[in-house]
């Protein structure tokens, strides 16, 4: 187990190394124009100044040397300074990380709490009205683009019905918890809705398979109630395959959360990334890239271990 974990972490670090190296190389192709952004539209820069800044930023070195430098700095905890904001990247990210975690975490929790039971009930009575309704609901969640759901929700709930605010995390001058909750409702329900689509579908198909297993009849023959049979024996074994599929979707979840954050003006890491890419703010892009990669890979390792704990047939050599 320890050995397995060690190997997993090693391979995750390798993945992280490759991801950041690729993105750094790609970004080096646009770094020249980033200088122009920094120079500002009105600022006329002399050739000498331009060269001096290039040298200061290390842009006159070859890509691999600059990546090496970046990596060394990162290992020392130095992510560089944002071109755009002029403050250390670490600080910007630290500020933005919490709101993203809150948004994604809450959305995911709701998706699981609602999606699992809906999927189980659909699988328990396949072909029923409930099954058909829930698969249509799931299809809608999976296929409707997030930004269209966002716009539609804002139009109806914030504008037509005036139920919730549509921007930001707090009303200016109001830092109360209630205010935060009101701001959370729309973005969270969008993330929950789109994630729920996958969950319903995956739960349904995993359960359909498990519900045919003989050991469910054994459990019934023991005198367990149908609820116990479905939850303790059916769902319990179906959870492992659902987890594996959830694993493949974490990056997609982060990506769609970024769009939601952008539209709702949510001060999260995804919206920050979109802004950073737009501004060609290389140090900031690299910082966020690293954070996202770490989160995704950690989540993968976590789910992998959870899978092993849930299914005793898996052995970690």
């Amino acid at each position: 187990m320890v050995r397995y974990l060690y190997e997993r972490i090693l391979s995750a670090m390798l993945t992280m190394f490759i991801v950041t190296a690729i993105i750094y190389t790609l970004l080096s192709l646009v770094q020249g124009s980033a200088l122009d952004v920094m120079g500002g539209s009105g600022g006329e820069m002399s050739h000498a100044d331009y060269e001096a800044i290039r040298h200061n930023l290390g842009l006159d070195l070859p890509v691999w040397a600059r990546y090496g430098q970046w990596l060394r700095n990162v290992l020392r905890g130095d992510f560089g300074v944002s071109y755009r904001y002029g403050v250390p990247v670490g600080e910007v990210i630290a500020q933005r990380f919490g709101p993203s975690a809150l948004l994604i975490g809450t959305g995911l929790a709701f998706a699981v709490l609602l999606g699992l039971p809906i999927g189980i009930m659909a699988a328990h009575r396949p072909g029923s009205l409930w099954d058909r309704l829930s698969s249509f609901f799931a299809l809608a969640g999976m296929t409707a683009p997030r930004f269209i759901i966002c716009i539609t929700f804002i139009y109806f709930f914030s504008f037509k019905l005036r139920l919730t605010p549509s921007m930001g995390m707090h009303t200016v001058g109001n830092a109360s918890f209630g205010d935060l909750v009101i701001h959370l409702i729309l973005p969270v329900s969008i993330i929950a809705f789109s994630k729920m689509g996958y969950l319903i579908k995956q739960t349904r198909s995993a359960c359909l398979e498990v519900f045919q297993e003989d050991y469910l009849n054994t459990a019934r023959a023991k005198g367990l109630s149908e609820t116990e049979v479905i939850l303790k024996h059916g769902l319990r074994t179906a959870v492992a395959p659902i987890l594996t599929q959830a694993m493949a979707e974490i990056p997609e979840l982060v990506g769609s959360a970024a769009i939601v954050e952008k539209i709702f003006g949510w001060p999260g890491i995804g919206a920050l990334m979109i802004e950073a890419i737009r501004n060609r703010d290389v140090p900031l892009i690299m910082g966020v890239t690293l954070v996202i990669a770490v989160v995704v890979l950690l989540a993968n390792i976590f789910l992998d271990i959870a899978y092993g704990l849930l299914d005793p047939r898996v052995s970690y050599r």
């Binding site: 993945t15 490759i18 991801v19 690729i22 993105i23 790609l26 970004l27 192709l29 646009v30 299809l139 809608a140 999976m142 296929t143 409707a144 683009p145 997030r146 930004f147 269209i148 716009i151 539609t152 804002i154 139009y155 504008f159 549509s166 921007m167 493949a248 990056p251 997609e252 982060v254 990506g255 769609s256 970024a258 769009i259 952008k262 539209i263 995804g270 990334m273 979109i274 890419i277 737009r278 060609r280 892009i285 890239t289 996202i292 990669a293 995704v296 890979l297 993968n300």
Partner: protein
Amino acid sequence: MNSSEFWKKFRTSKSAVIGLSFLLLEALAVYLLPALFRMDPVASDVQAGFFAAPSASHLLGTDGAARDLLARTLYGGQVSLLVGVAAPFISVLLGLPLGLAAGYYRGMAETVIMRASDVFMSFPSVLLSMILLSIISPSPGTLIAVIGIMDWPVIAKLVYGNVLSIREKEYIDGAVSIGRTDFEILSHEILPGVLSPVFVSISFRSGGAILQESGLSFLGAGIRPPQASWGSIISAAQDLSVLTRTPWVWAPSGLLIVLTIMSFQFLGQGLRDTLDPKMKL
């Protein structure tokens, strides 16, 4: 299954027929109507006004530059459908050979290819596409390439999984034992078994590609005005006053995106049910 049997079975799937008909009608509309009525997606009709409500002269109203929204929606549809149909072929072009190699040769090829696809899949594709598109200037062609490249691991993994299970079959051992070459085995025994899931997944990936394209254009990283695409038309709704006061600007394109993606989904499900309901995708 020959083609007449295929159609006979395919026709029984109501949703697949609806999906396919919708897509065909939509393709006819977006490619024929603008030409027939000589619509211009970039001309401003200042007289009609900015963000003008639907009227007889502008059936869907006008946008922020007083351009006719009907024309823009139709031209935008050309881009979206083109990307949707073309991008998956790029993914297949990359993913199919790589998946075959990884599954058939195993060893080094398997390690490298599967590791590469893991790396690809461990980062949000929207953000990666945005980075790529900030380097190369976005156009329908580059969007097709970027979205197609983003999706190759999906196809490669699908092919890889299917090859692994076909390899276990005894007729492969049989082919090896009578001395057939790797190429013969791959092309005669393995490829046919892999093609139908790939075929089905093209339909699903088409929907995905349209989703990606519209999202990128919405964020300003894809097709940009004055060129039209559904996503770029909707991006006007990032302005709260457009969103709330002029829903005719974004609602038709939004609806079309949803219907198109759903149609591809229905079509894909219908194809799967027709070819093999137990297919692993």
